[in-house]
Amino acid sequence: MHVDRCEAVAEHFAGQREVIGIEIRGVSLTYSWAPTTAKGFRKVTLFPGSTKAISRFWRLLALWRACAPYTQADYFFCDYQTPEVFLTAVALRLLGRRVYVMNDAKFDDKPRFLRWELAKSIAYWPYWGALVSGRRTREYLRFLRFSDARIAIGYDTLSIQRVRTLAGTEPAPDGGHFEGRHFTAIARFVQKKNISTLLNAYAAYAHSVTDPRALHLCGSGELETALREQVSRLKLQDFVVFRGFIQSREIATTLANTLSLILPSVEEQFGLVVIEAQAMGVPVIFTPACGARDQLLRSGVNGFLVEADNPEGMAFFMKLIASDEALWRRLALGALNAAPLGDVVHFVSSVEQLTATREYA
C-alpha cells in the first residue's frame, strides 16, 4: 500500500524531487503479503530477507543511517509510537529537518486516558505536521498537538487504477451479474475483526431467505479453527467459503464478483479494503468503528452503517441488498462515485500541501 503512495508521489514530483521509501524488512510479520517492487522511486530495505526479531537498537541505528544523509529531505514516518522512529524523528528535528507523522488512529479506537494522552502528545513533538486518514483522526491529532493548518487528510489511500487493472473486469454495477454475486469479508481472523458476529448475522440472513448467497471469508489468523467450528455448528458449511489469505490480485478479482463487502470490526483504524471495494463499485456494510466511513461511506448511499454488536441489523441489510437489484445498482453507483476519494491523488496533494511552505536551499 505504501508502494502505491510512493509511486504516486514520485510520479508527481518527477524531475523535481526524489522519493525514497525506507522499510524495516522485506516481509511483514503480521500479514502474509508478498514482497513488492518499487517503480519510479527508490526502495531501501534495512533488513532484507529477515524474518527474525531485530533489536530496537539495530533498527534505530539502521534507520538513522538511512535518513541522516539527506539534508534537504522531507521525512514522512508511520509507526510514531516505536522508540526507533521517535528517537530518529527527535534527532532529525534537532538537526532542523522537517519531519511529518502519518497516522490513522482515532480517539474511539480504544479506551483513552487523559494522563496517557498528555504523555502521548510529547511523542508528537518532533513532527511539524501530520498526514492523516480522515475526520476522526484529524480531530484526535488536533487534540494531541497539531493545528488544522498542519494536518492534511489523505494518508490511507490506494491506486484505484491498480485495483481495477488487477481485477481485469468492469466495476459494478457492470461486470459480474447481480444474481451470481456473493458476500465477502476480507480481514485477519483476530478478535477485533468480529468475524464471529458476522457468522451469526449471516446465519440469520441465510435462514430468512430461500436461496442464500454464499459468504466468502478471505483471511487467516489465530481464530480460524474457532470460526470453522462455528460454521459447522451453524450448519453453514455449504454457504461459507474459507478462501485463506489472498494477495492483491485475488482480492480485486474476488471483489469483481462481490455483492457487498462486509466489515464488521469492533476496532478498525481505517479499513483499506473499503477503497478496494469502492474501486470495484461494491457497496459496503460497515460498523461505526471503521475509519474509512468518515470520508468514504454514507449509509443508504453506498452501503449501510450497522453496529458491531448488532447481528440482526447486519442480517437485515444483507437481505435488503441481496433481494433488491435496483437498490444494489444505486448503491454500487454510489460506491463508484465515492471511489476517487480513496485514490492516491489525495496522498500526493496532501504531501504537496504540507511541504509547500518549506523553502529549499
Binding site: 480517539f107 487534540f143 461505526p288 454514507r298 448511499v301 448488532n310 440482526e312 441489523g313 435488503l320
Partner: protein, 363 residues
C-alpha cells in the same frame, strides 16, 4: 425529566431514604417547557423567580452548600459539574465529608477538545465519589477524564416510560393510529446543532422517492425559525411541513401517538431524550450518528436507522423505507418495545443504588 428521576428514586427508597430535589431557579433559560411540580419527593428551589448571573456565583455556591448541609448525612447528585458554583459547592461538601456524585451525558466527540481544558476538567471531577452517565460514550469520556470505571454507572438520561404512555393517551404503535395516517415528526429546538436545514432537504428528497409522501410535523422554536420557514417555502413544502410550535410534553406525547417515525438529525446531541419518548410510544427512530441515544437505545435495521449527520440522501432513503413498508414498520415498532426499558427511570434508580451501595461498602 429530573422530576421523573426524583420520583422514581423516591418511590424505590420509600421509607428508607428521603429524596430532596434542589433546583437553582424556578424557570429554565433554554427551554420553553415549564418545570413540572414535584410529587412524592420534596423540591427546593433556591431562586424561585430569578436565575443567578455570573457575578453571583459565590452566592449561588453558598446557597447550594447551605441547602445540602441542612440535609445532614446525604448522598448528593449534581448535574452541571462545569458550572464554577457547582464545582465550589461539590468541593466544600466533600470537605465536609459528604459523598457527592456527578451526573453527566457529555461525550468526547460533542465538540472540539483541548488538552489544557480537559486537564482542568479532570481536576473539576476530583470532588466526586462517582458518576451517573447516560450511555457508553459518556462513560468512556468520564473514564478518559480520570473517573475510575468501577465508579461510573449508566442510567442518567432516562424518563418514566409509564408517564409518557399515559400522556400519549393511546396504545403504543403499532396499535393506535393506523399506519397510513401517520406522519414523520421532529422535536428539537431551532438551533444550528439540531441540523434542521438538512432534515428539510432530506424530507424534500423523500417526497421525490414516494408516490404519496407523508407530512412532516416539526415541534420546537428558536432563533432559526425564520430561516427554516424560508427554507420550507423555497423547497415548495409549505403544504406538507407543519410547524407545531414549542409544545408541552403532554402534547408532544399525543403527537407521537400519530407519528410514523421520529427523525433526529442533530450534528451534536449528548443523548436526545425525545428518542426515549418515541420508543415509549412504540416508534422507530431515524437518528444521526451524533446522538448519544444510539449507544443504549437504537440498533440500525432493528428499531430504527442510524445515518450520518451530513447525509440527507440516507435520511430520505430510510424515511421512504419506513413510509412504504408496513410490515417493516410493525417489526421495528415491536423492536422499539423490546429496547424501551433501557431508557426508563428504573435504570436511573438502579444506577443510584449501585453508586451509593458501592460507596457505602468502600467507606
Amino acid at each position: 425529566m429530573q422530576i421523573d428521576r426524583c420520583e422514581a428514586v423516591s418511590t424505590h427508597f420509600r421509607d428508607r431514604r428521603s429524596v430532596i430535589g434542589i433546583e437553582l431557579a424556578g424557570a429554565s433559560d433554554n427551554h420553553s417547557s415549564e418545570l413540572t411540580p414535584s410529587g412524592s419527593f420534596r423540591k427546593v428551589t433556591l431562586y424561585p423567580s430569578e436565575y443567578p448571573r455570573k457575578c453571583r456565583r459565590l452566592r449561588l455556591a453558598w446557597s447550594l452548600v447551605r441547602a445540602c448541609l441542612l440535609l445532614g448525612r446525604a448522598e448528593i447528585f449534581f448535574c452541571h459539574y462545569e458550572n464554577p458554583a457547582i464545582l465550589a459547592a461539590a468541593l466544600v461538601l466533600r470537605l465536609f465529608g459528604r459523598r457527592v456524585f456527578v451526573m453527566n451525558s457529555s461525550k468526547f466527540d460533542d465538540k472540539e477538545r483541548h488538552r489544557l481544558r480537559e486537564f482542568i476538567k479532570s481536576l473539576a471531577l476530583i470532588p466526586y465519589s462517582g458518576a451517573l452517565t447516560s450511555a457508553t460514550q459518556a462513560k468512556s469520556y468520564l473514564r478518559f477524564l480520570g473517573m475510575p470505571e468501577a465508579k461510573i454507572e449508566i442510567g442518567y438520561d432516562t424518563m418514566s416510560i409509564d408517564r409518557i404512555r399515559r400522556l400519549s393517551g393511546s396504545m403504543p404503535a403499532p396499535a393506535g393510529a393506523p399506519f397510513y395516517v401517520r406522519h414523520f415528526s421532529i422535536v428539537a429546538r431551532f438551533v444550528p446543532k439540531n441540523n434542521l436545514i438538512l432534515a428539510l432537504q432530506a424530507y424534500k428528497q423523500y417526497t421525490e422517492l414516494v408516490r404519496r409522501p407523508r407530512s412532516l410535523h416539526i415541534v420546537g422554536d428558536g432563533p432559526l425559525e425564520g430561516q427554516l420557514r424560508d427554507k420550507v417555502a423555497q423547497l415548495g413544502l409549505t403544504e406538507s411541513v407543519i410547524f407545531r410550535g414549542a409544545l408541552q410534553i403532554e402534547r408532544v406525547c399525543k403527537m407521537l401517538a400519530t407519528t410514523l417515525a421520529l427523525i433526529l438529525p442533530s450534528s451534536v446531541e449528548q443523548l436526545g431524550n425525545v428518542v426515549i419518548e418515541a420508543q415509549a410510544t412504540g416508534l422507530p427512530v431515524v437518528i444521526s450518528d451524533a446522538c448519544g441515544a444510539w449507544d443504549q437505545l437504537v440498533r440500525s435495521g432493528v428499531n430504527g436507522f442510524v445515518v450520518e449527520a451530513d447525509n440527507s440522501t440516507g435520511f430520505a432513503y430510510f424515511m421512504s423505507l419506513l413510509s412504504e413498508d408496513e410490515e417493516l414498520w410493525i417489526h421495528m415498532c415491536s423492536a422499539a418495545h423490546e429496547k424501551v426499558r433501557a431508557g426508563d427511570v428504573d435504570q436511573f434508580v438502579h444506577g443510584v443504588q449501585l453508586l451509593i451501595g458501592m460507596n457505602a461498602r468502600s467507606n
